[in-house]
Amino acid sequence: MEWETVIGLEIHTQLASKSKIFSAASTAYGAEPNTQACTVDLGLPGVLPVLNKEAVSMAIKFGLAIDAEIAPRSVFARKNYFYPDLPKGYQISQFELPIVGKGSLTIELDDGGTKVIGVTRAHLEEDAGKSLHEDFHGMTGIDLNRAGTPLLEIVSEPDMRSPQEAVAYMKKMHSLVRYLQISDGNMQEGSFRCDANVSVRPKGQQEFGTRTELKNINSFRYVERAIEFEVERQIELIENGGEVVQETRLYDPDKGETRSMRSKEEAMDYRYFPDPDLLPVEITTEMLERGRQSLPELPDAKKQRFISDFKLSEDDAALLTASREMADYFESVIEITEDPKLSANWIMGELTGFLNKENREINDSPVSAGMLAGMILRIKDNTISGKIAKEVFEAMWAGEGEADAIIDSRGLKQITDSGAIESVLDEIIAANPKQFEQLKGGKDKLMGFFVGQVMKQTQGKANPAQVNELMKKKLEA
């Protein structure tokens, strides 16, 4: 039988506010345990939550970016359950009236097409602390620094049909929250993680199969592998006469498998109800207007502009707009070079290669946009050739300074004095009379030989075009 996979994702993204969603403690990552947990984060008796304005603004920005309805009135609710990293015994979240309603996101497919994925809702909530399971004489240690960090939970419709689509959606969402600067999207630090709802059904069947929920996946690679594993597990189960049980499963990246955490029967009864410590959040038209004005150019619009204004190919434009940082870098470079194609080639080629090799983000590239642009200008004015430029780039990367200084100190300036090139050429012709005659006689292949000899003699500093030009003159003479 042919099976169809149905996937919906719940993405949790930490918002990049300075302070927590309901307290004035810092959200900075990596502090000593419990040094950033104030009385509110610790859930001490009598203390109360007050909502962070920035978290609300960020949610509005997100909603506007995915063309969603922003609720004029939304409500915080308590999700009640006991867990040691949940200090109050409830998580403040949103249930019936989330701040962001229905929206959508367009993803690019491998075959070059696009697909619109529905977003059901996005709501604000507080993150929990962390349980550390290293051995404290058989006990668990609790660090509540993360407790109260603002989260935006983005819930998709079950619109994805393959693990690849799920990855494309997650990547696109990741890029979007970073474009909007509402999250640092750091997956290693847990700022961007997801749960996947996965089910299978016979192709053509209308109703959904029973789904399982895969918890806490924190990388693009894992989301693909976890879903792949789960889809295979479910198909195998059904084909062998079994039934999928609705349950929560945990993905184990070391073993590459999912395993059961709890079944529907044991499902938690969260007893949601409106949090009486917080009043309804009203989004005024002024707040919406401010949100609209603060919206940056979004990835899809930017891509289209790159294609039409800079005559870039679809693929190049997609690559250059994959992250806001990349796009900003590109635009800074072309502002100076006024040469989109050459600049794009250098960014997608040499620069990306070096970044990947050292696993760096473009933001901490040792070669700044200004430095790269300076070097490209020297290519354009024939001071250096493209080949020499690679040497210059490597030197800039190694910290030897700006392109001009490197060209100077290493003596890489192209020889453009035609007299000098001609004398070198004359020497070579004199040393290789036989080959020269053969070339004259029509053996065009030898053209390369002479040009190569000149380049060798000048250590690459002769302008190849100029050498060609002179050689042609010699032949005609």
Binding site: P45, L48, R271
Partner: protein, 484 residues
Amino acid sequence: MHNKTIAELSRGLREGDFSSEELTRHFLERINRLDNSLNSFITVSEELALAQAKQADAQIAAGEVGALTGIPLAQKDIFCTDGVKTSCGSKMLDNFIAPYNATSVEQLNAAGTVMLGKTNMDEFAMGSSNETSFYGAVKNPWNTDTVPGGSSGGSAAAVAARLTPCATGTDTGGSIRQPAALCGVTGLKPTYGRVSRYGMIAFASSLDQGGPLTRTAEDAAMILGVMAGFDERDSTSIDTPVPDYTAGLNDDLNGLKIGLPKEYFGEGLDSGIGDAVHAAIDEYKKMGAEIVDISLPNTHLAVPAYYVVAPAECSSNLSRFDGVRFGYRCEDPKDLEDMYKRSRGEAFGAEVKRRILIGAYALSSGYYDAYYLKAQKVRRLISADFKQAFESVDVIMGPTSPTPAFGLGEKADDPITMYLSDIYTIAVNLAGLPGMSIPAGFVNNMPAGLQIIGNYFEEAKLLNVAHKFQQITDHHQRTPAGFE
């Protein structure tokens, strides 16, 4: 000195008739000597009180005096006090010393008051008799075989017995007004949002409100003036200017429209209480007030709705008491679940457990609509009753409690009967209105309370109405035998 009101003590301090230290020592001595029979204090903070008194005396000497500088008072043990145990009447917090002050405590400290100690209360403010306290029942100074009411029973008893000129309380369903009525003192529950809830250990967040218990309305006005105000740490605190509550105390009541809800004078009301309340209303007529018969038709639904809303909120509010970051943890838990269950099972008393269970049930899957949502809708109806009534009257009056103080242990095993002792006070909390109880007379030598309910933020009106009554009556001046 202990028979003077705050207003009188304030004058005495400023005029140098006595020092704050003398005054403080006097009350501390009375507590030490007389509280054994009442059990109204959980903690007496003698050292802190004397230090604060000395500081107040220095301020008075330097001429930097506010009206409350040097005035001793007691805090209900629900208000967190930095460095002094805050138990909330529970074994759960028997070892809890808050690393912060409640906003009310902060405000009263800043006003120069002296904290004598922390008063006894029903565990987590859940009770109407002060019998659910981990620290034992409080006794009513008018008859120590009877209850003082609750949950602010320690505060009411201490003020009635002249162990303190004033005590703070909290009122979720009548917890200031009912004990004030049963102990013959003046108690004021402000409009929801008027007094900050920050640092006040939550029972039911949408109902809880702090306020003063004093001998007179004038004293209540002075204390409320300090406790009231906007607090940025409490999202439900309301940013409305605080008037001078003492300014209009003597305003004329001629033409005041007093609404008498027929539902507050029906079946279940003790006839002696009814007589006392009617006699009080006659006094108002003499002062030129106009009596309007009104109806609050959903009154009978207030107790049922309250016993969903309050337990639902409390079941969630009390989840933080889990033995992890503070408070009681059971001995040798065998695993995580055992730690939760035994810590909470061993440290919470029966009434607290009942309410947590009812609340968890009302919110649980399949029952939410029938209980919680229904109660929220009924709450709207109850609130609408008041809204309509206040279109035609200035204040509403009736009894605070249907009966005088009942015997210790009399209702302890019957939660329903106990719950019905708040039948006249609970609706006010559901609506969020301000309400007062003032001594209206005596039934068989036990105090009867008159409840005065006002419209939102009309505390000044309530205090004016109460003060004028106290100018022509002396019920509030009577002292229980043995505490003169």
